[in-house]
Amino acid sequence: MDRILKDGVDRRGMLECMGWAGTGALFTLSGGLASSVALEGALAAGGQSKQIGLNFLQISDTHIGFKKPANPDVVGTLNETIAKIKALPVQPDFIVHTGDITHLATPEQFDTAQQLLGELNLPIHFIPGEHDIVDLTNARPYLDRFGKETKGDGWYSFDVKGVHFIGLINVLAFVNKGMGSLGAAQLAWLKDDVAHLSASTPIVLLSHFPLWPLFPEWGWGTSDGPQALALLKRFASVTALNGHIHQIQRKVEGHMMFHAARSTAYPQPAPGVGPGPGPLVVPSEQLRSMLGISTLQVTTSVAPIAITDSPLAA
């Protein structure tokens, strides 16, 4: 099994119907200025921009193997997620999974995750979370399944329809309050990887820990993230997608948009609320409104990339 779980699905154009979008807002990035607009309005505005026919979907933090009070049935909520995706009128071109595929990186948990996600019959590009690293130090089991075509400790890039996707690994060494780090070798690779690209190439970054200092007191950041972002400063559109936070958090800085996705397994508290980051127990009827996925549309001109976050239930 290589980095892409499954391949060979035809592209079917833009995701026109948001299906279970519910209360999700659609964010656009235009000329470096972000705007959040209602879904209806955003779809109307989207008609004025040139579609390049690329849409993809982000899922994150499936935590297969977790079975504590915050969600004793993470397989169940992943199955619901998969059913929602399969029910979309237009399938995404591919899926990105921003880590913590499993809870403890056991062979059984990886098997279950692969089996369930395989039912999507879509290509999936993975990066690992710290929970996918055995004993927080051994990435080999993850790499053997998902990282065969990767460089170094598992980083990689690929291009789809003129968009350059970069998968970064920031879960192998921790600093301060548990922030992730990329390391000199990966930064050197990144510099080289983007050197040949024109500044107009849309960049999509995938990482598990946020590359921006979302809340360093809880380790929600990447110690050398600023160095990575400095290498990408010349690009007109940079979208950084991460997991780990188990809730939607966004920030826009210049031409860069940062987006932390929901988990499909359990929510976590807002930054700084409560004793620390960890599973948040909510009434069961509220759980599905705090889990979900993000759909992303790539357009040119008016709105290079739009993100819609969709809970499993409104």
Binding site: K68, P69, A70, H103, L104, H131, D135, L136, F174, N176, K177, G178, E217, G219, Q268, P269, G274, P275, G276, P277, G278, P279, L280, V281
Partner: protein, 131 residues
Amino acid sequence: MIKFAKPAFAGTALLCLALTPALARRAHAQAMPKGDPALGKTLYQACMGCHSVDENDIGPKHRGVVGRKAGIVPGYNYSVAVKNSGIIWTPEKLNLWLTNPQKLVPGAKMFFSVANPKQRADIIAYLGTQK
């Protein structure tokens, strides 16, 4: 934090010197707020990304942790740093651990910390009930 300047012990310097070890122990204990195990049980949810009471996870299981020697739970793969720390997990040590685990045991796997002293005490009080 160890605070020696307690009003109850503001006696003569001679008395203070004579009682220094006992005072230190008592002052150390007093530096921790009294924990509420019921509140701690709720706060413990935050620990459950990596721990549980009865199963090893990212971190070792917690049943019996208060008073236990560090690094001895069967079936859990400890860092060398914790295994060799020689720590006994008294409430005071757990308080230091939860304040900044990397300061207490550099090289430990755990980075998670709890900034609020009362919340730390509550969590430790809860762990104390899980014998």
